[in-house]
Amino acid sequence: MYSEKVMDHFSNPRNVGEIENPDGVGEVGNASCGDIMKIFLKVENDVITDVKFKTFGCGAAIAPSSMVTEMAIGKTIEEALALSNQAVAEALDGLPAQKMHFSNLAADSLHEAIKNYRATHP
């Protein structure tokens, strides 16, 4: 059902946890749909230096969370904003069609965190 890359990121998720005094925090999802993603950012000179996540959800929610953190680290804010849900899913070699919904949350929560960073660091 899941690709090898999904199972890899699901069983060994990267960058799990929280960042103390983060520069940005984003949360998307809804417990009643069975998925919540929370992303924490550290930003220096407009570059994302650290990302951590916490996710409540199934394999198709946890793996994209892990993947998006890997993809975002080292990117500028502008580059990270250009990161699409599609790109996250592709980096995972795809997700089952009925679960694409979950991959959508990963980039969305990153973008929410960036929005929060911009709002708090004018």
Partner: protein
């Protein structure tokens, strides 16, 4: 890697005795039981023997047994066949909110064709209020359909009392007994059942065979039209080998049910006690006492069921979940929803269903590997220790999903 199967409510392995009994009917004894010649005669006796074995288990006459392809077909035939046969009498059906989709979706379909359906609610243990059931009966009521035991939680309904209510009001009574046969005393006389569905693969027979019990004198429009098989109740060539296997499985169930269930209950209780002792914030889903001896449905607060299942699967453990992710929709189990289980807890629900082959070692292995998996997923969850949700309290239920 160890392989531990704890999903017997989903399906069971074919028992060796059953396989042995049915294999000749895939080899030399290939005839069509409807044929008059030697090849047909060879197998017609086998189908009739199986009919007797099933009838003995259900305490009915062999003539009241109709072989069908699965439990879903038996449920569909019971509901649609009753609605058609009794359309002169009324069009109201009473059922429950926690039925298997084979009944629920059939009711939804029948509503579109003009039937009125009452879906009885359940309490937080998944139990029915019998006064409410009796109060729902109207002169238009033609059928009460209540499952014997719930597939997700194992909660057992008071079928004997429901049968008595149905009899008192002269209303036909159908029960989906797919999870009950082989695990409980399913006696259609004692429980006053008119129509009953059972499925072979839940009790060690192959997939693709089931039984519809039809009490003598019950008018029922057939679902399948065609040949004269099954006394015109169900057209279509008999699935001979599977029917023979089902007969054997029923014979074994009759002989072993009580001893097997006692053993399985001990193991289930060991698993239940072990989980509650080792993992904090766990909620039992289902009735604490009136529950199938093999079923344990629990919610591990703050984690999602499918991610737990995948982790268990990596350790060789097969279980099941009521989370949306495993149902292919965004909504978690309708059964837990009907029981007013809080929605994140419904997504967290995990069902372990044990069987005759489950061992103490299996249970102890689960108890060893489960707690660290739960903790790892909780550490990853934004709901855990966030102070927002205090799960597993009675007050934590919401009325609607």
């Amino acid at each position: 890697m160890k392989r531990i199967y704890l999903d017997y409510n989903a399906t069971t392995p074919v028992r060796p005795e059953v396989l042995e009994a049915l294999l000749p009917y895939y080899r030399d004894q290939f005839g069509n039981p409807s044929s008059v010649h030697w090849a047909g005669r060879q197998v017609s006796g086998a189908v009739e023997k199986a009919r007797e074995q099933v009838a003995a288990l259900l305490n009915c006459s062999p003539a009241e047994i109709v072989f069908v392809s699965c439990g879903t077909e038996a449920d569909n035939t019971s509901l649609k066949g009753t609605v058609d046969a009794l359309k002169g009498k009324g069009n109201h059906i009473i059922t429950t909110t926690v039925e298997h989709p084979a009944v629920l979706e059939t009711c939804r379909y029948l509503e579109k064709t003009g039937c009125r359906v009452t879906y009885l609610p359940v309490d937080s243990d998944g139990m029915l209020d019998l006064d409410e059931l009796e109060g729902a009966i109207t002169p238009e009521t033609i059928l009460i359909s209540v499952m014997w035991a719930n597939n997700e939680t194992g909660t057992i309904f008071p079928i004997e009392q429901i049968g008595a209510i149905a009899k008192r009001h002269g209303v036909r009574f159908h029960t989906d007994a797919v999870q009950a046969v082989g695990k409980l005393d399913v006696d259609v006389q004692k429980h006053n059942v008119d129509l009953l569905a059972l499925s072979g693969h839940k009790l060690g027979a192959p997939k693709g065979v089931g039984v519809l019990y039809v009490r003598r004198g019950t008018r029922l429009t057939p679902f399948m039209h065609g040949g004269h098989q099954e006394r015109n109740r169900r057209a279509g060539t008999h699935n001979v080998a599977a029917i023979v296997g089902l007969g054997k499985a029923c014979e074994l169930a009759m002989a072993e049910r009580e001893s097997t269930c006692a053993r399985v209950k001990e193991l289930r209780d060991r698993l239940e006690r072990g989980i509650f002792a080792r993992v904090p914030q766990v909620k039992l889903n289902g009735h604490p006492a009136e529950r199938l001896a093999n079923t344990l449905n629990v919610s591990f607060a703050w984690i999602e069921g499918e991610s737990l299942l995948l982790n268990l699967d990596m350790k060789g453990i097969a279980a099941s979940s009521g989370s949306a992710c495993t149902s292919g929709s965004l909504e978690p189990s309708h059964v837990l929803g009907a029981m007013c289980v809080e929605v994140t807890l419904a997504h967290s629900s995990t069902r372990f269903s044990l069987g005759p082959d489950t061992t103490v070692e299996d249970v102890d292995y689960v108890l060893e590997v489960l707690p660290p998996i739960v903790q790892r997923l909780r550490d990853m969850s934004p709901l855990y220790n966030c102070g927002k949700v205090d799960a597993c309290e009675g007050c934590d239920t919401v009325k609607k999903l």
